[in-house]
């Protein structure tokens, strides 16, 4: 009896002294022999899938004993995948990636959304993907001022209605009152082909998806939203209207938190510590950086709390901006 109490006491002391330091360690231990599902909200191939597979592979390397399995759950413009991640058990064994543009869907309470981004467990983001205004090479429009000065509306291509590309294009062209007619349904690289054919003059898109196109001499960038490159004027510097500036800011925040990794709400703190730690080590891995560079997928990481704050900030828009967002979308519906 006495012996047993002594043992218990010793155990208590041992536990007390090690708990703090071992919290993250416990989390790392938890993953020994466990399988983590990494959900990618698109079909195989393409940006989200390449980033997702890279992240999963290198997180596995940096979380000893764990196995990461990539699961593609495409559909409904990333909503199916995001819903699945949100609805999964908060045990740290399901995480994944989806389009940051779902922030728009949440702000305007779009159909089908069953997630709350402000409650999710944010592990990190891998890239910044600034947006650009791109114009086909054969068009006489050489600068943003040229675009604004157009007398008759020019055609811009966007992806399917309700997609992030569509929301951004409509929101910006309407709030900036650009002489632009938005044509929907140009998915994948349809827009690039349409610009080559000449039926479409321009597009608002992520810089990385058009860098090859511009290098090949098929088009030119005339303005940029966010991003560190100094070769282009920032759109915000060309605009005065405060409402439009607020929307440009919103778009910029999307670009800053690109290629994110998140889990459902309620993952225990020690496991989150282990996941964020592994994510950080993965992003700092020279191998991963070299491979990402070969894929022309730049790595500009941020982690845990920083990403959570940025998401919260993007979600927390003034009623006026929300109104502008909803108006911008409504006025384009035919």
């Amino acid at each position: 009896m006495n012996k047993a109490w002594k043992r218990f006491g010793a155990a208590c002391i041992a536990l007390g002294t090690t708990t703090g330091a071992a919290l993250a360690e416990d989390g790392v231990d938890f993953y020994k022999g466990k399988t983590v599902n990494y959900i990618v909200a698109t079909a195989p191939g393409g940006g989200y899938d390449s980033y997702g597979r890279l992240v999963a592979e290198y997180m596995q390397r940096n979380l000893p004993g764990s196995t990461f399995v990539v699961k593609n759950m495409p559909g409904a413009g990333h909503i199916i995948g995001a819903n699945a991640i949100y609805a999964s058990k908060g045990d740290g064994l399901t995480i994944g990636t989806f389009n940051t543009g779902l922030i728009y869907n949440q702000i305007i309470n779009a159909n089908g959304v069953k997630f709350d981004l402000s409650k999710m467990s944010w592990i990190g983001k891998a890239a910044s993907d600034p947006r650009v205004i791109v114009i086909a090479a054969q068009s006489p429009i050489k600068s943003f001022a040229d675009l604004v000065a157009q007398k008759t509306p020019v055609n811009f291509a966007t992806a399917g209605l309700g997609s992030a590309s569509y929301v951004e294009t409509v929101m910006l062209t309407n709030s900036l009152k650009l002489p632009v007619k938005n044509l929907t349904g140009y998915n994948g690289t349809d827009d690039q082909l349409a610009m080559r054919r000449g039926e479409v003059v321009g597009s608002i898109a992520s810089r990385s998806s058009y860098s090859n196109f511009v290098e090949n001499g098929y088009g030119r960038f005339i303005a940029q939203i966010g991003g560190a490159d100094k070769d282009l004027p920032q759109l915000a510097s060309l605009v005065k209207d405060p409402g439009a500036l607020a929307l440009i800011n919103l778009v910029q925040s999307q670009g800053d938190i690109s290629r994110l990794t998140a889990g459902p709400p309620g993952i225990p703190a020690d496991r989150m510590g282990a996941l964020i730690g592994a994510y950080r080590k993965a992003m700092e891995d020279k191998d991963l950086q070299a491979r990402a560079e070969k894929l022309e997928r730049p790595v500009e990481p941020a982690y845990g709390e920083d990403v959570a704050k940025a998401i919260a900030k993007a979600l927390n828009q003034s009623d006026e901006t929300k109104h502008l967002l909803a108006e911008a979308l409504k006025s384009d519906k035919k």
Partner: protein, 503 residues
């Protein structure tokens, strides 16, 4: 030019490491292709980690061969069990499976495998010839032409159904087009017929529908009837290489058709946006329409096997063109391929011709050699594979049904598709029992979606004046000619009869 052309072939064949990689790639490609529900796109995405660190040429050859031979093995299950692996294989099922039922699985496989190889090689030749004129041709096809091409394909339904069945064919085709409208409206962003089900936003799954309409009804019939797929006993049939060889010889016998469908397939592949299923179905429709005896189709006409198979392999050569020279992928598989090319240090774009002509030729040769290896290998093993059609239904049916269920599920990874599989299977079985044609349904589903989307875009861009674009006028001419021909043909027998009566 010529020395680069043959220099590349020599370099390819004389490098044992590259040839070894090609062999492995062919085997992987064939296995992936033979498994229903897994597409070539997934296999490339999964293979990408392995090509890191590979030499530029070897990595590109490896991935391209793997992708190119995918379609070659896809027809095995379509012909033998009526289980199409994908939307384009479904066209092969329509005549391939009836051939297997007649005990001619060997002949059907011989013909389809050879056709695939021939298509792949002609596709590579078209690729080589097209390089100088690529730009004007690809850029000539806008949404207006896509719309009219889709309509042209839909008019082929008139031939598929044939004569007295033309009403049934139209009803089934319209049913397919109706289901094509399920999902997000491309114009208004409204979810149509989707209720609260997000998985319906992207439309009804083509693979699930094809499996439900073709595979399941045939399996139910087989289970009810008993016996084996081949309706004749094994004693009566000399199952040997001779039968397979007969099949092989069917391709040169129909060389005109094989050549035409290969070129059509390659051209459709070249123009991004139409997709592989459209190529196979347009070519199947062309085979029926150009045949003197269209009534044989659907009951085991070997041309119905040759046409879609040449098309689906030829389109690979075609779709590589815009991918390499514009940096704009010609298909979803090629989009993944382009990502892999970047990893290997290949920068797709117009500079490919000036700076990497040797690589371009190596890839063209890889298409040719890869297809040859795949065809030889498959023809060799087909003898043992085709025997499966003589297995008793009690052994075979459960196995096939499992394959069908897995195929319907893994394609999109959504369980809801299994519900659709069951529902559509009932419709498919009813159609089979009532002797309604099922091919028009798939044509309606595949082309209806393309037609709707491109009509919206064309109207947005040009209004109704898009009908007067030069290429549009040519296509309208073809549509009118097809319809006129269909009416003339369905009237002809009765006209003859009445002439005899009056005489």
């Amino acid at each position: 030019m010529i020395d680069v052309m043959f220099g590349s072939l020599g370099a390819l064949l004389s490098n044992p490491q590259t040839m070894g990689l090609m062999l492995i790639a062919v085997l992987i490609g064939l296995v992936v292709g033979a498994t229903p529900g897994i597409g070539g796109r997934l296999s490339i995405a999964l293979a990408i980690p392995f090509v890191f660190g590979m030499d530029m040429t070897q990595g590109a050859v490896f991935l391209l061969t793997m992708h190119a031979v995918n379609g070659t093995s896809g027809q095995i299950s379509s012909i033998m069990f009526g289980v199409p692996g994908d939307g384009d294989d479904a066209a092969t099922t329509i005549d391939g499976y009836p051939m297997a039922k007649k005990g001619e699985a060997g002949r059907a496989l011989g013909a389809s495998i050879t056709a695939s190889g021939v298509g792949g090689i002609i596709g590579a030749i078209v690729f080589a010839i097209m390089i100088p004129v690529l730009e004007p041709i690809v850029l000539a096809f806008s949404p207006a032409e896509f719309f009219l091409l889709a309509i042209l394909g839909i008019t082929f339904i008139a031939f598929l159904a044939g004569g007295a069945n033309i009403f049934k064919g139209m009803v089934v085709g319209l049913f397919g087009m109706m289901l094509a409208t399920v999902g997000m409206d491309p114009q208004t962003g409204t979810a149509r017929y989707a209720g609260d089900y997000l998985f319906l936003w992207d439309g009804i799954s083509l693979v699930t529908c094809v499996l439900a309409l073709f595979a399941v009804p045939e399996m139910i019939t087989l289970a009810v009837k008993g016996g084996s797929i081949a309706a004749i006993s094994t004693d009566n049939i000399k199952f040997s290489y001779r039968q397979i060889f007969q099949g092989v010889m069917e391709v040169p016998r129909h060389w005109g058709l094989a050549l035409r469908t290969s070129i059509i397939g390659a051209l459709i592949g070249m123009v991004p946006g139409l997709g592989g299923s459209a190529a196979a179905w347009l070519c199947y429709g062309h085979a029926v329409q150009s045949s003197k005896t269209p009534e044989r189709f659907g009951h085991g006409a070997v041309e119905g096997v040759i046409a879609p198979e040449t098309a689906s392999n030829a389109k690979e050569g075609g779709s590589l063109l815009p991918t390499l020279f514009f940096g704009i992928p010609g298909s979803s598989g090629m989009a993944v391929m382009m990502g892999a090319f970047l990893i290997l240090g290949i920068q797709p774009g117009p500079t490919m011709i000036t700076q990497h002509l040797d690589l371009v030729w190596t890839l063209i040769w890889a298409l040719v050699v890869g297809n040859l290896i795949a065809v030889t290998f498959l023809l060799f093993i087909t003898r043992w594979v085709a025997v499966l059609t003589f297995i008793n239904a009690t052994m075979l049916v459960p196995f096939i049904i499992v394959l069908v269920v897995i195929g319907a599920f893994v394609n999109e990874g959504q369980w809801e598709n299994l519900v659709i599989l069951v529902g559509m299977s009932m419709i498919g079985y009813a159609m089979l029992r009532a002797n309604w044609p099922r091919a028009p349904f798939v044509i309606g589903l595949v082309l209806g979606r393309i037609a709707e989307e491109s009509l919206h875009k064309a109207l947005d861009l040009w209004g109704f004046s898009f009908f007067t674009r030069p290429l549009s006028l040519v296509l309208i001419g073809m549509i009118v000619a097809t319809i006129t021909f269909a009416i003339y043909r369905s009237r002809k027998p009765s006209a003859l009869n009445s002439a005899q009566v009056s005489a």
